[in-house]
Subunit: 398 residues, 2 copies
């Protein structure tokens, strides 16, 4: 009733319908009142009421009774995001396949992990995915709750074109030119979405983690190699063919060290997880163990290596700060250990290599979301699609 011009414009600037905007709010907040929706969107009470009835009829939300007290005026009625609409996340890795089910209200409904002794091929991985998902569907159907699956989100640890759904190159899995999306769609007869793992991690941290509320975010994820995700002005940087964000291959040194792609002097060649393991006398340990060892058993050798890696990471960060002028920089995976090892040194390196203007107000965080980070990101792939066009994903027509 008061300020409506600004929020309306902001909401409309993204070009969505009001139905999508309201549904997005419900999904983001999990639970929200009608009056809050009015205030945020600038829509009138009558419009919000009408939109909510259609959303409830479509099964995306459910009405709850009047909420809060202790304030003057009639209490506003609330809506909850559905607990029954699900997205299934699928994460193939070298030595495991992880499948989770995430509800529209963010709860993890199901989680399972299949371990492998030796790497399996791409086609066998698809077979396993289909099997696990078929079993999961059967299990969910026997449940008391009437679940409904909106789609599948596949987390790909490698270069993937999210438009065509073809894995271009996944070095660790040793997949290449593999049309994973179409194969899965064919077998599962459900909408399937695919994206790079770092991109999904960034998406999740922005929605519910360290970068919540920020619109300009650079995310770097260290596993074996170093992957990246970038969001500018709230939207993901995809590039022409969808391969944008290969931050690990940035060359920052004239040195001769080679990375996994055989390129010299890159970030990935200078900042290596297995080097850290080696200097600590470890091999193939979990992230948790590596972090503890690195931070607590400091030797002259490990300190020297860590500082060398921190310097390289700092230079890369400074480069990216100059290029993107981000609001938030998120370090995930083993990069967070480096940051925690000596964050003062890290910031000194950045300060030395970035122009002052881009560092004003820039914040560096480590990832907040833990094991479910990628699954949440993958579920967002599915949910954002449903939010963009809720009527296509209708469940009950009533």
């Amino acid at each position: 009733m008061t300020s409506k011009a600004t929020p309306m414009f902001e909401a409309r600037a993204s070009g969505q319908s009001s139905l999508s905007i309201v549904l997005g709010l419900i999904h983001e907040h999990r639970a929200i009142t009608r009056s809050e929706i009015c205030a945020i969107t600038g829509l009138s009470r009558s419009t919000v009421a009408k939109l909510l009835t259609t959303l409830v009829n479509l099964g995306f939300a459910s009405d709850t009774g009047a909420e809060q007290i202790d304030r003057v005026g009639r209490p506003s009625m609330g809506v909850d995001a559905s607990k029954e609409l699900l997205a299934i996340s699928v994460h193939p890795e070298v030595d495991y396949l992880e499948v989770k089910a995430v509800a529209f209200n963010g709860t993890i409904v199901h989680s399972e992990k299949r371990l492998y002794d030796e790497p399996i091929g791409a086609h066998q991985a698809v077979e396993d995915m289909v099997q696990v998902i078929d079993n999961l569907v059967a299990e969910l159907e026997t449940s008391d709750t009437s679940y409904r699956i909106l789609g599948i989100g596949v987390i790909v640890p490698g270069q993937i074109n999210s438009s065509t759904g073809i894995v271009r190159q996944a070095p660790h899995l040793q997949w290449s030119e593999f049309p994973i999306r179409d194969l899965l769609t064919q077998r599962l007869s459900m909408p399937v979405f695919v994206a790079n793992d770092a991109s999904l991690g960034c998406k999740a941290e922005m929605a519910y983690g360290a970068a919540k509320g920020a619109t300009d975010v650079v995310y770097m994820h260290g596993t074996s190699g170093i992957g990246g995700g970038v969001f500018m002005n709230g939207t993901e940087l995809k590039g022409f063919r969808g391969y944008a964000g290969e931050l690990g291959h940035m060359r920052i040194s004239s040195g001769k060290e080679l990375d996994y792609s055989g390129i010299q002097g890159t970030l990935e060649a200078l900042v290596r997880r297995d080097d850290l393991e080696a200097v600590l006398g470890l091999k193939n340990v979990s992230d948790e163990d590596l972090e503890v060892a690195l931070l607590n058993n400091r030797t002259p050798e490990s300190t020297a290596l860590a500082r060398k890696q921190i310097e390289a990471l700092g230079i890369a960060t400074a480069n990216l700060a100059n290029i993107f002028n981000p609001e938030v920089f998120v370090l995930a995976g083993f990069l967070r250990f480096l940051y925690r090892f000596d964050q003062n040194y890290f910031h000194r390196v950045i300060k030395k290599h970035a122009i002052p203007a881009v560092l004003e107000g820039m914040q560096v965080f480590v990832n907040e979301l833990g094991a479910n980070s990628l699954a949440i990101g993958a579920s967002e792939l599915v949910f954002q699609e449903a939010i963009a066009d809720p009527t296509r994903y209708a469940t009950r027509v009533k």
Copy 2:
């Protein structure tokens, strides 16, 4: 009447009103027929007719008679973009101040250059701008045509926050923390917009030059230093505070060479215009003369230097390709001379340092627009604002 879903969605995705979309088309095409507008936007003929009458009434366009022949059916009526609505571009540099007037239909109506023997301060520059523009306004008012100025676009060779309008640092001009937009707005009582020079060059090349039609573009401009502009998915990369695109400060080598900001091993430190001049025995020559000398008087020394610089430029380009996966890469300023010096070597360097996926379909061009490039970019700042909300910039109400 046939396909309407797709273009509608595309046009609406940017969140503009139909009025803005149609006005944008008129501006982009300079002259266009009603039926073409229908085909591109997917709007119905009646809607287009209604929108056009309001745009003509607002003074943005004028009806022309029926055009083209040789086709079956009633010939479609055309509209021309106004020749009377102007944007004024202002370009302060170390040794000159250049002011141009660009009409809504793209024609350069006026152009003047004031030369300086020695650098003038920021405040004196503003005085000069006001003086030149006041004179220009007086001159335009005596003209036969009834011109009307929509706003001013200032081209800033340095770091500027386009939201606050404050020049953060312009190293060559030696300005810093200078609120140029507010000062000019105060003195001129017109809308004033400001942006970085490379960003405007990129904007112009995308609208009417080498990158026409592309949506994912990286642009590098070599003058004294190296500036950059990046557009992803059609919109400019601004970053948190608007300083994104400082591509020249990217560190790509462990060498000790310093750039203008005192940072080691950066692109700007390795690729220097004055080094090229020096090796050719020149000093302070024009771009044209430098290009002729570099390409035609090849000595072993100049070739060695050029190749060294091409290698650095190629590494930087590869880094940016990995990061952005652009569709088009534009080299402007003296960087285009390097490209022309040995473009095969340049491409070989890129191929060595970029991952194959991001190079598929990527094209490298030199800038096409000449002396008016920046003025056109600056005029776009003004015109895009007017296009976004035509009613606010109304001239005749009729």
